[in-house]
Amino acid sequence: MTVDAALTQAFRSGWGRIVATLIRTTGDWDLAEECAQDAFARALEVWARDGVPDSPVAWLTTVARNRALDRLRRAKTEATKLKEVASVPAPEEVAVDDDLPDDRLRLMFTCCHPALPTEGRVALTLRTVAGLTTAEIARMFLVPEPTMAKRLVRAKHKIRAAGIPFRVPPAHLRPERLSGVLAVIYLLFTEGYAATSGDRLVRRGLTDEAIRLSRLLTTLAPDEPEARGLLALLLLQDSRRDTRVDGDGRIVTLEEQDRARWDSGEIEEGLALLARTPTGGPYVLQARIAACHAAAPTAASTDWPRIASLYGQLAALTPSPVVALNRAVAVGMAEGPEAGLTLVSDLEASGALVGNHLLPAVKADLLRRLGHADEARTAYEEAHALARNQPERDHLASRMAALGTPT
């Protein structure tokens, strides 16, 4: 293997581990990152000269650790010179265990601590766990690099100044904190998945990172059904990535997608994960819904009654207007458009989705299926006026055109 390839591989599998181990042993996030970076720079030199070591990540960990100890030792000497009480632990007191797998889990939980702003959680996870550069993260989120750098600095400063602990939370906090970690990964995925504009390829990196982090989480926390549920959900959604939009950037609905082009590897893995997950929360339920679509060979053979029932369970667990709207769609398919419209009317009456184009869009589809072309057109027009992105507006316009001219 070439030095470059070995380094790339070691970076993918090793960065998060090395940083996590150094944070645990030194308590210093910046020091951890800088020493990890130094170790990779050294590797480039040394490996080219002496060859790639047998276990590259262990080599890198040792180099990074020695560098950290060195810097702490020097900092301590300086501190002693200044006759200050050294708050830095003496290097010999720093117990360094090599690569406990737990460290990355600690890192994930700490990066996703609820006391950090959401954007800071996302950025910190990508920087420290996934090892993306500040420039890469900035590009993915379409913000200038200095803005992203500031976000990272702020988040790390708060961890230190506010005393956010570097640990896997205790049992009584764990469910709530785990859902925080899952939410960050899901947000990363949807950021990448929703992108339909010219930057699609760059943002595609986000869905890959989300899947990678989600996979890592299931390895680190194998007993968490929701972690498996999230991975299954991401894989099943991602399996449709190439068929959601046509060559001209137009939206292709689930019904019209070419199912032969869905990624069968991802579908198989997602279904297998679900088979090993008998119970779970909202992510498992959403994954089961995605699985109903993935398992249907044709749109017509979709098990809509099951999807409607799963949305019912989801609505009971995490009530939200968007879940209620999806349930209305599923009920409309399972029991007929009238049953769906009843649920849509309830939602309209609640006023929860005012200003959201999805409500009139769903209503329009149901009315169209009932043959109420004029009412459907009015609802499509309303949805069209509210839709924010061009592909969605185009999609609604084509639906409207298919209704024919007003009677």
Binding site: H113, A115, A161, A162, G163, I164, P165, L173
Partner: protein
């Protein structure tokens, strides 16, 4: 680590005498428990904001005004000083304060530690 808990709430909240008394009793219990546990070092309730006086000194001139420094929906009504292992412990202690259910509690670390 030392943290300051700022107890904030709407001081014009229309509570019945019974509700007011219940919050008082619950707060006394919280103070007792947190103090016995060793996580609460100090604290007190403050008089209403209409008793506040703000001062600013600019170019050698002292400006004294009546009232709190900012008009907000929720006002600082008390404080507690905590000594906790980390933010998680401080948040746990703060979240069991009765005012957390009706107002807002800001938890902030001390500058120098």
């Amino acid at each position: 680590m030392k943290y300051l808990m700022l107890i904030c709430g709407d001081e014009n909240l229309d509570l019945s005498p019974e509700e007011t008394a219940a919050i008082g009793t619950a707060t006394d219990a919280w103070v007792r428990e947190a103090t016995e546990r060793g996580v609460r070092l100090d604290g007190n309730r403050l008089a209403r904001t209409e008793t506040a006086t703000s001062i600013r000194s600019r170019d050698g001139e002292l400006l004294v005004t009546d009232g709190p420094f900012a008009e907000t929906r929720e006002q600082v009504g008390g404080y507690d000083v905590l000594e906790c292992a980390d933010l998680d412990e401080a948040l746990e202690v703060a979240s069991s304060h009765p005012v957390a259910r009706i107002g807002t509690i800001e938890v902030r670390p001390f500058w120098d530690q």
